[in-house]
Symmetry: D2
Subunit: 144 residues, 4 copies
């Protein structure tokens, strides 16, 4: 079984574009974060759940590959799926697509920390269970 | 004596533009905020001073008029000067210029509040004195 | 009959917030532009229609009033309705609300220009007809 | 001889922050682009030179590592230096620092294309010469 992919529709507005007439490359990361947020919300881990558990996810590293530009008014989808689950970290595979065309893809490494933004926190058991359920069997070795 | 105008150089980068090939109109407000911040810092009221006095300025209203577009790589100046000083508020006249060309102008109304973001706070005497000194005699009636 | 109000759901993501813990005040203008764009699209005037008629709308002036802050994860609505229709211009009333709470409101003045961004263009008859239909009878005097 | 590093002062304003009270991680990429732009300008390749040669640089991939957060009002420096020069591409090492503290670092891969944004273009000889001069001897093998 492969990992389940979450997908969020994203419309391109003027705010997202640049003088090249295309989506400003930095903004794909915003689309991907929207998808991550809704993915976690759908799993039951919206802001209230996360904050009430004194957690926060911070981005540790991002590697993005840009393939094709998106343009004003495009109807895109931003996706997220779980690549690897660590004790206090999470690696997601994300993409921005227009139809079947992959415009940009990224691996996004997140650390789970206390809300002070500093101390690492283990992913709660409830979250681990839910993330593993959507991860399928594309486990890439042991938790990091 | 007219009010002293503070001016901050601003360079236009790709991040500031939109698919129209010009500076995205919303971003002039960012340029103006940078100018306000440096204006206050020059008067002695940088972030540390303001926070240590349990103050914060919040924007209450903005009226902007757009005249001419700025373009990628333009060397602009963003300006600020005091229009009116109230007990717990401040009205600034701001502009974005390219040379002598005024590209956009705005009146920006700020409220002085406690750092909880809610309770109004009177402008401290030291700030009043400094602001009046640069306001010149273009007082428009009584403090609001 | 009052003017019809168009409303677009907007979710607040991290990208929209600032260090005050609230939505960065400049970003309400982005929410409002999304609503304008979808409002025009619903009336039949999406990007393709507008561009194929060699038209473009540019913002001439904006007056915003901020009342209450929006916060991370809020489910907001951004609204638009027609206040005044001119020969080559349009005045919209817009707001950002959380439930019944109006967080920010604005009057946004748009000019209709050729795609060179300079020459004014009259609103096409088809657009005039559609805009008047949703304007109801809150005409504020003659077209500007 | 090591590669020369270009450094641009960057001040953190409210527009750059998020509800975590720190610089929104996406915005480091903007700081880095500002540094790239000024780096190229200093070498003699400002927008006018680049456009008059029918060139454009597009970002092909970015890998960022976040180490420590920047905060409101921080005085940062954004840096750029040449890692590798290809026939129609360029790999830069970039960082954002506060004093000696590296807050974020990135490798940014750029492709040189015609201004249609599609056809690859070889780096002009004049640009190659200038880039090699600041690259020092940290050549990492052959041009890609």
């Amino acid at each position: 079984m492969t990992a389940m992919e979450f997908s969020l529709p994203v419309r391109v507005y003027m705010e997202d574009t640049d003088a090249g007439g295309i989506v400003y490359y930095v903004n794909y990361l915003k689309f991907m974060e929207r998808a991550r947020t809704e993915f976690m919300r759908q799993l039951g881990f919206g802001k209230d759940w996360i904050f009430s558990h004194d957690l926060m996810f911070v981005v540790r590293d991002v590697a993005v590959r840009y393939r094709r530009p998106a343009r004003l008014d495009d109807a895109l989808s931003a996706t997220a799926r779980v690549l690897r689950i660590g004790g206090a970290s999470l690696l997601l595979q994300q993409a921005v697509r227009r139809g079947d065309d992959e415009l940009a893809s990224a691996e996004v490494g997140l650390a789970c920390v206390a809300r002070d933004g500093v101390r690492p926190r283990r992913l709660p058991q409830e979250m681990l269970t839910a993330l593993r359920a959507v991860q399928g069997d594309n486990h890439q070795g042991e938790p990091a």
